[in-house]
Symmetry: C2
Subunit: 675 residues, 2 copies
């Protein structure tokens, strides 16, 4: 029978050196890629760790979650509670920012086993003296592990169990829950199973999870044709804060290269006086640590940061690790760039396209250590100026290990720093960047238009392991992305995409004023580039244009602020609705008290109606419960009953309902900001 | 901002010591529990390994699967091919039984990158001399890694690329696929990423995957009231082989204890002369290495094994690691049992129930090493007698580590041995036993009756990672399990449960002759125990009873033998059918040529009909293709077209269709064994 089997003699079959532990711990969640990457939470979250914990046979188990705060060497412990089917859960609530660690220990618990079986014997009336004697020995052993009065107390109980009292009285004593509780505090853990891995949990501040971004080109904030400055951006703050944004993101603020400078509408050669692309970093005035003198000084930047803080707005800068041919690095560190056989520096390419105004860094050069160190220093420099949020340009074109190292190093010192990954690349690359440390990530949202696409994508982002490490930041537009849908210029499209972004995800952003002013002309048909894009020229916008939806955006952001349900993503659930143009989904706050149901008409042209089939349990409702829904956009109130309800949305009026679900049992909030 | 963050200063932020590798390898499948447990295949399977492989930026990658045979130290390599979305696949076909190992290496491939980009440049007509020069340097470097004529050939190509020929001619040379193919054979792997884990694949013989079991009590094979023997079992072989079974499993064949011996129908005290339960192992005639003298001698056993082999039937023995109070171990190794405070041995219990005829072993005693060694020796002894299949009784009541050690040790020497786990316990415990080495496992099939239950359970077993390590063996009945449904005694129930077991799973078994004779009286109402169970008494069966379904079983087993689709489980797919009493599912052979569609009426009382909505792609059919289905049970043929077809099944005639799906394109098989 073993004809085709090579004999693999083993050196005898000696039993293992140590007695193997009996408790098994597996299926731990969260645990990303076998523990290689951390899960993410924010300070104050209730963190639930689950695991399958079991053993052979029928013995009872006990288990603890062991966790420690950043910088602490000592474990804290909290017990696991069994759920069903050998699944257990333990929770803790981390406050400090930084890297927490956790692991699990489980053991076969003789006292628990004995007590469970003893209860059954007592219930069946078959207790024998020997059962009490066994219990007495176990309690005695627990007394040996305890000390002081607790040890004495356990010893007295042990004596009682084997004493001279009648069996019935000793049985009552043996069932004393206080005895069990005290004995369980001193279990025999000498044969406990350690999970063997220390898993990591990154705890960030709340803005890593919930944030509303506004991007603008500071050079476009001037008046009367002047180049905008940090000072002119300050004047824009009331407007931005008035719309309810809390992060103001500026494209690169550094000197711009002159060689191969791009002209307006991406012309290969700039006309004299054209400002060039802010992403062609580095010129006579300096490189990544310098500020384009036309924008102002580092003091102006600090002043802007302070002023923004006064409005509850944080400044986010752009990290674009690439150089223009005029960057000081090109002269000072020629080895940081790739040379071609003719000695010239390799410019950026996407064959057959060439980008001669951009030199990528060579991250694998002989002097890569110096380069990495310098780039770390660049981010550190802006942190020293007071910046705490960075949007990283094209991180996927630099080595993964570089980002992991850089983010780890910076967050070790500054755990409050937030990095947003701009990577519209392949899904696995985007997820990898999130795993290795980026706090937020751009997404495919801009290109997900159909109902099924939205459901599929946001189910993947919120209902799979992805939710543990990837925090989506949804942008309906960016300076690079004017989607085909937005090119229609239809107001319902802009409203609808804004509501989707702001309610599907706890973090989202718009590139303005282009967005709120419904800017929609593409450079060429079929292109996603804006006509007269601010990437290559200064635009001065008339914020008072009648088509502006700034007020509507302000309303949506106030709804987000007042409804904790919208400030996280894990509770997102889609509800069936029998019309492919209508999409419905709900979110619930962690305490279950705030429930928001959003229904959007994806068709910008026609009224659509349909019957929604609510998942009542996802809304925290009983099947027989009456409830009301209040449209937070309009103040309209509807009284609903049961799962089946009718909805109609006319995009010419409003393309969405954002409904607060209310029951008498819930504490009711009153809002007064309806349209 | 860092108010609540403890400062975690790091010792500077030095760049890593070694330059990190750029290729990423993740999401490897199969990989069970982070590589802690092996996946399972059988010899000759085409094994597909998949992984996500990608890198930063746009460079091209190459990757190899590295694998090695049992006992080999050298890796073999085969290239990975990209699928979609950064998913790659490589395959190999292991022949040898035993533990194979595999891992992955991937690297950024400069030649591939250059050639891909060069093709784009050439297509766009923008090739420059420097592009050829870069290519020449890369080919030159490959020449340096090659040797002999291959190196010379590459060097000539490198020369051609930077030579004096016109650009157009050199461009043609650079696109020579032979040059690319040769250069790719000598890649620069100095910066390759190793996956870092060596994963294990257990390769078993085919019977581990595909087997048909028949269980009988040898003591019941006698005639005229005589105790059956191995010799009388031999006389039963033509009958068993005639039904198409290939594994004959015998309950324990060892001497049976006399103390606390159970009487017929589990009476607490046996009458004189009653044979007792075979699972109360050990008596005057010996223990786990002895044979109950009433059954015969070890020579008789060897003779039976030989005779069975002549019928294509393998003998399977029962491993029940527990002792009767009369087992020699009790005297010889008193420390192998748990003592109670009064010095008596702890018998088996399930409080408040007591099983005083059974002493469990104490696997954690001070002398656990000797116990483990002895039990390993027991299995080894029966292997020496020619047994290669073992059904393990209650493995879940012994330590997991014990089984892992025992199975590893035995399969290292005898990789052809097969262990079936009898554990009707919690799902995670059952799966753990499969992960740690059991080749086949009992399942919850006996209690899955409703359509939704069957679909849910078999989807879990075949469409999740469970399929990688858990091989279900389906038993409609066992000596312990006479299900409520079988207690009806209805012939359609027996036929239906047999067909479900035999077509849902590649391995199944029945306990006979109880099953084929439609034995169905429970000991007490509501019990799953047989009345007059063979566990406690000898039964002599009249195999010629008119209700016998032995012929039908033979037909089903011949269908299994002739249709490779039914010999594996990975292709199982359920097809919607608009009647909750009708269940439909298909299986396809690995080569795609054999397709079997089974439809079962789960209602034993009434004819049921409905429309099936076939997943044509799962059947290898195009939407527009005509095809015929031939009922392998009856020979009836139906001509079908498209996904939507009508089905009616009358349980009084036959409760199922087992349909071979035929197209003209497929090679047609002819069967002549219809009912």
């Amino acid at each position: 029978m073993a004809a085709n089997a090579k004999t693999q003699k083993r050196p005898g079959a000696q039993a293992p050196q140590k007695r193997p532990r009996r408790a098994v711990i597996e299926g731990v969640q969260p645990e990303i890629d076998c523990g290689r990457f951390p899960a993410k939470r924010v300070a104050g979250d209730l963190v639930a760790i689950e695991a399958d914990i079991f053993t052979d046979g029928h013995d009872a188990l006990a288990a603890v979650l062991r966790y420690r705060a950043p910088g602490d060497d000592d474990w804290q412990e909290t017990p696991f509670q069994p759920l069903v089917n050998d699944r257990w859960r333990a929770t803790f609530r981390p406050a400090e920012l930084g890297q927490w660690h956790y692991t699990i220990q489980a053991w076969v618990d003789d006292v628990r086993t004995w007590r469970r079986d003893f209860e059954k014997r007592a219930a069946a009336g078959v207790v024998e003296a020997i059962d009490l004697q066994i219990g007495s020995e176990l309690i005695q052993a627990a007394a040996g592990r305890a000390s002081g009065p607790e040890s004495e107390q356990l010893r007295r109980w042990a004596d009682d169990l084997r004493g001279n009292l009648p069996l019935a009285e000793r049985t009552v004593a043996a069932l004393d829950p206080e005895m069990a509780a005290l004995a369980e505090r001193f279990p025999d853990r000498s044969q406990a199973t350690d999970y063997g891995k220390e898993l990591t949990l990154v705890v960030d501040r709340e803005r890593a999870r919930y944030s509303s971004w506004y991007e603008l080109f500071p050079r476009s904030t001037g008046e009367h044709g002047q180049h905008g400055t940090f000072r002119s951006v300050e004047k824009r703050l009331p407007y931005i804060a008035g719309m309810g944004f809390d992060v103001l993101y500026l494209p690169p603020i550094h000197p711009i290269g002159a060689s191969h400078r791009k002209g307006r509408n991406n012309a290969l050669v700039a006309e004299p006086g054209e400002p060039g692309s802010p992403w062609a970093i580095g010129g006579e005035a300096g490189g990544h640590r310098a500020i384009n003198p036309e924008l102002g000084t580092v003091d102006d930047l600090r002043h802007l940061i302070q002023a923004a803080a006064g409005y509850g707005v944080e400044l986010a800068l752009d990290i674009a690790f690439q150089a223009s041919p005029n960057h000081p690095y090109v002269q000072e560190h020629p080895t940081w760039f790739r040379r071609r056989p003719d000695g010239t520096i390799q410019y950026a390419e996407n064959p057959p396209k060439k980008y001669e105004d951009i030199y990528p860094f060579e991250f694998a050069s002989g002097e890569w250590r110096e380069l990495w160190q310098e780039l770390l220093g660049v981010v550190h420099y802006w942190i020293e100026q007071g910046v705490r949020i960075f949007r990283v340009d094209n991180p996927h074109t630099k080595p993964f290990a570089f980002w992991q190292w850089l983010i780890d190093a910076l967050k070790a010192e500054h755990p409050e720093v937030i990095f947003l990954s701009e990577a519209f690349t392949r899904p696995k690359v985007m997820y990898r960047l999130a795993k290795l440390g980026f706090d937020q990530s751009y997404t495919y949202f801009a290109w997900r238009n159909a109902k099924w696409e939205l459901i599929e994508y946001f189910t993947e982002l919120t209902r799979t392991e992805v939710v543990e490490y990837f925090r989506p930041n949804l942008w309906p537009n960016t300076p690079d992305i004017l989607t085909e849908q937005l090119q229609t210029g239809l107001r319902p499209v802009f409203l609808m995409r804004l509501i989707l972004a702001a309610t599907l995800s706890a973090s989202y952003g718009i590139y303005g004023p282009a967005f709120e002013l419904l800017e929609h002309q593409p450079r060429t048909p079929g292109s996603e580039e804006y006509l007269n894009s601010e990437k290559y020229q200064i635009r001065q916008w008339d914020l008072t244009r009648p088509e502006s939806i700034a007020d509507f955006i302000g309303l949506v952001n106030r709804i987000r602020r007042d409804n904790p349900a919208l400030q996280a993503n894990r509770s997102l659930r889609f509800h069936p609705i029998d019309n492919d143009q209508l999409i419905a989904y709900s979110k619930v706050s962690a305490d279950g008290r705030n429930v928001v149901l959003t229904i959007v008409n994806l068709d910008p042209h026609y009224p659509e109606s349909g019957w929604i089939d609510l998942d009542l349990s996802a809304l925290g409702l009983r099947p027989d419960q009456s409830f009301s829904v209040v449209d937070l956009l309009t103040g309209e109130q509807f009284f609903w009953h049961g799962a089946h309800n009718f909805v109609m949305l006319n995009p010419q009026v409003l393309p969405a309902h954002v409904l607060a679900v209310r029951t008498q049992a819930r504490d009711e909030r009153d809002f007064e900001y309806y349209l």
